[in-house]
């Protein structure tokens, strides 16, 4: 909007300086520069007008630079002042033993009311309360919610969720998840579909943090394109909250490959051994990411001889990262002979990095095999053997 107004001012100025006077209803503006510009050819007049505009904009920019620098300095000072005031007041109140009931009055808490006049102060107050809540447990933590309710901040959060500003929406989501607020589900569902990935990631995190909501099953029905970032954020939140109730199987079976990856990763990280056979079915999947995660998960659950036989059988279909994990896992194969024979094949036929990994595992299983390879005619194998022996012996 401001750009449009600015553009219209430039267009109006261009017109105004090319006519002797401008009349609009009863308003009349005389152009005192008309004599200077009337004889100029059109393009030269345009150039002079641009010069005038550039100079005006330059002056405005200098003013704006000065203004912004000053404004940022002042706001920083105000923020620190508020933060110190709220933090010290809240901490002394929360540890005073008062405030277990909504009816309890405390002069310090009451005193905040005068400070909480504008949105800015309220935001700082809520943030301070959030910080205390996330860092404490028990009574103190519970009392933070009581204070939140005392001040009836819900109306502010609702207003922020409707705000066109991203920062306000994000703030509201963080408050909802940290205070475990109920009644905002439909807002969260809406924001999950938002095109801004920070916002939809935050909405997903909020969804996971609100334990009463379904176990991410919502993702099965949404047509959103999860990114690796989203997957990481969701998994981090699930692990931080130690949630074991996520239905990994339905996520794994999703047609959306990223949701499927999420399900497999969660199954691996939550040690869902019971899903081993379902994961096995995902090996060889057309999607590289699903395929890789399936291998990594299956490797982490492999313990019986037939698991390793299966992995050896499917080795060629694996990505390089998965192949490395298989090689490393072969050290714990109950059938050492199979592992050694397979590792020897890898040393002879596979790429440099796989040779290196295989020789490192071989060193644990059969030192004589490594010594044999040390005399190999292949210079690369000899060099890798030297490294493996140098590092490990």
């Amino acid at each position: 909007m401001s750009s449009l107004i600015f553009f219209m001012l430039i267009v109006f100025g261009s017109y105004f300086f090319s006519v002797p006077r401008f009349r609009w209803g009863s308003i009349q503006l005389n152009n005192i520069y008309y004599r200077e510009t009337e004889d100029l050819p059109g393009w030269l007049y345009g150039a002079e007008y641009f010069i005038f505009t550039f100079l005006v904009i330059s002056i405005l920019l200098i003013i704006l630079v000065t203004f912004y620098k000053r404004n940022k300095r002042i706001r920083k000072k105000i923020r620190h002042k508020y933060e110190d005031y709220f933090a010290s007041g809240l901490v002394s109140y929360l540890y005073s033993g008062q405030g277990k009931n909504d009816g309890d009055k405390n002069p310090e808490i009451e005193g905040f009311k005068t400070a909480l006049k504008d949105d800015y102060a309220k935001r700082i107050f809520i943030n301070t309360l959030r910080r205390i809540r996330t860092q404490t447990l028990g009574d103190v933590r519970d009392k933070t919610l009581t204070i939140y309710n005392t001040y009836k901040f819900d109306y502010l959060i609702r207003a922020y969720l409707h705000s066109p500003y991203l920062r306000k929406k994000l703030f509201a989501l963080k408050v909802i998840s940290d205070f475990q607020l109920e009644g905002y589900e439909h807002y969260i569902f809406k924001l999950i579909k938002h095109k801004n990935n920070v916002l939809h990631s935050e909405a997903l995190v909020t969804l996971v943090k609100l334990k009463k909501l379904d176990n991410l099953q919502l993702l099965l029905h949404l047509k959103i394109n999860l990114t690796i970032w989203d997957i990481n954020v969701i998994i981090k939140t699930v692990l931080d909250l130690k949630r074991k109730d996520i239905n990994c199987l339905t996520l794994m079976e999703s047609n959306n490959t990223k949701v499927s990856v999420l399900g497999i990763m969660l199954a691996r990280l939550n040690l869902r051994q019971d899903l081993k056979m379902n994961i096995r079915q995902k090996i060889g999947n057309a999607d590289d990411l699903v395929n890789e995660e399936a291998y990594l998960a299956y490797v982490s659950f492999a313990g019986e001889e037939n698991d390793f036989d299966f992995l050896i059988d499917k080795f060629e279909l694996a990505t390089e990262k998965a192949k490395i994990s298989i090689i490393k896992a072969l050290a714990s194969n109950p059938n050492k002979t199979t592992s050694i024979q397979f590792l020897e094949l890898i040393v002879k036929n596979e790429t440099f990095i796989l040779k290196l990994e295989a020789l490192q595992v071989l060193l644990l299983l059969d030192l004589s095999a490594v010594v044999r390879f040390k005399r190999s005619e292949n210079i690369t194998i000899r060099n890798i053997c030297s490294q493996v022996l140098d590092f490990n012996l």
Binding site: F50, T66, K69, K72, T227, N232, K236, Q387, D390
Partner: protein
């Protein structure tokens, strides 16, 4: 064609060229505002530290070539050790230093020679030895000691030894913000539509800044006369120019001082080109060409506007001239090597917009500027100069240049606001005015000398020497290193 027609044609040519340049600058400003706004909106509230516990993060090798860096190398490595990331290694490539760079690192980090096997995917000068630390605190530090072969050669040696998913090409004397790797990696994680092949970051000027324990503790506007101009130039180039090209996904250069690349793709394209002095530009152009010719998938070169890397810029006329001369030669070399991309629709926007821009407005602009000055002198001598038009156009260019630079300064204040104090604003304003009369003509001259050297001199691949003054104690740290 008579003489008057000839004059008219030349006038029209210069007028159209200038108008195009003017339109490009205006578009650059508009696009950079849009892109920066989008970036800030998207990343303002990202908790980068949470990435430290992510399950799926690419591993990174930091590759830093070092040549005669004995006075600063220990501090530089310590700065790199302080970087926040969960899976990274530091590879310092000692490129045949003639001073005590290697012995100092060996001594300070308890290094011993190790037998490390690696695949020589890229051609480079022979590696003499590889060192690793016996101290577990430095177990992710590796030193590759090799024969001298130049920066590109050293980077190739580092890529050969590294085994991680991504590598960060870094000038060892740069100061990196602790969360730089986290911010640089983010585009590789959060783009589901494109393959991100590389990401570049903003390089800021560290001259006169206060540095403690390998970290910038106070940002000052450079005290040196030449560095003051370069601060403004870097504002425009990084905050405006590269941001705008990033918006179009048409970025052709990632600073050689600081760039994160997909290691496998770089190996696939043959690594850094040792035969050019503009290896940073050339690699990005070659990577883009590879994506269009071989992989044929949607890809992106990301650009991070956060100030993540601080470097020292030349403080003397002589060193500055050599640096700019080299940049020009590197640019021309890349243009000639990849000339088939010019106006070639097969390369999409790169072939139709980015590459032609580089040819007509990066390479040819200083040449045309010089021809224009010569032409101006000639028509003045012949009495054909219309003084009113000349003065109007001169004022036009001057006022636009001032406004454009001020816009870049405003942009910096509005977004990152690293520079403080009333004297900063006053000095910036003075140097914006001086720039057009001192720095711009000199840059034109340096560029012309680069063109001359490229086309007429034998040593078109030479780097020249640069005297670095160091970040903290200037008297102690005076040294001569190869750029």
């Amino acid at each position: 064609m008579n003489f008057v027609n000839l004059i008219d044609s030349v006038n029209s040519f210069f007028f159209i060229y200038a108008c195009l340049l003017f339109i490009i600058y205006v578009l650059t400003a508009i696009l950079s505002v849009q892109e920066l706004k989008k970036y800030i909106t998207k990343n303002r509230y990202v908790d980068y530290k949470s990435m430290l516990t992510f399950q799926k993060l690419p591993s990174i090798s930091i590759i830093a070539p070092a040549y005669n860096e004995e006075k600063t190398i220990i501090e530089n490595v310590k700065c790199l050790l302080a970087l926040q990331y969960q899976n990274f290694e530091i590879i310092i490539v000692n490129d045949g230093s003639k001073d005590h760079t290697l012995s100092k690192i060996i001594e300070s980090f308890d290094l011993i020679k190790v037998d490390i096997a690696y695949e020589s995917n890229l051609v480079c000068a022979p590696v003499k030895a590889i060192y690793k630390s016996t101290n577990p605190a430095y177990n992710h530090v590796m030193i590759v000691d090799k024969e001298n072969g130049g920066k590109a050669d050293a980077l190739n040696a580092g890529i050969n030894v590294s085994q991680n998913d991504l590598f960060l090409a870094l000038d060892v004397d740069c100061i990196i913000e602790p969360d730089a790797l986290l911010k640089m990696v983010k585009p590789f994680l959060d783009d589901s539509e494109h393959i991100v092949i590389a990401s570049g970051g903003v390089v800021r000027i560290a001259n006169s800044c206060e540095v403690r324990d390998g970290k910038i503790v106070k940002v000052n506007y450079a005290h040196n006369f030449w560095a003051k101009f370069q601060v403004l130039e870097y504002f425009r180039a990084f905050t405006m120019g590269r941001m705008a090209w990033s918006k179009l996904n048409g970025l052709l250069i990632i600073s050689g001082a600081f760039g994160l690349f997909d290691r496998k793709r770089v190996i696939n394209v043959g690594g850094y080109d040792k035969t050019t002095v503009g290896e940073d530009l050339e690699l990005v152009v070659r990577l883009r060409r590879y994506m269009h010719e071989v992989e044929k998938q949607k890809y992106r070169v990301a650009f991070i506007p956060d100030p993540l890397c601080w470097t020292e810029v030349p403080e003397t006329y002589k060193v500055l001239s050599k640096q700019r001369n080299r940049w020009t030669r590197g640019g021309i070399d890349t243009i000639f090597k990849h000339r088939r991309m010019l106006f070639n629709p097969k390369y999409g926007l790169i072939g139709l917009v980015s590459f032609p821009y580089w040819v007509f407005f990066e390479w040819l602009a200083p040449i045309l500027q010089f021809i224009g000055l010569f032409y101006l002198a000639t028509i003045t001598f012949l009495g054909l100069l219309n003084q009113q038009i000349f003065l109007t156009l001169l004022l036009f260019v001057f006022s636009f240049s001032v406004m454009y630079s001020l816009f870049a300064v405003f942009f910096e204040a509005y977004t990152y606001n690293k520079y403080q104090g009333a004297s900063y604003i006053f000095q910036v304003f003075i140097f914006i005015f001086l720039e057009m009369f001192i720095y711009q003509p000199l840059n034109m001259f340096f560029s012309l000398s680069g063109n001359f050297d490229f086309f007429f001199k034998k040593n078109k691949k030479g780097w020249g020497d640069m005297t670095r003054t160091g970040f903290t104690n200037k008297k102690e740290q005076n040294q001569t290193i190869k750029l």
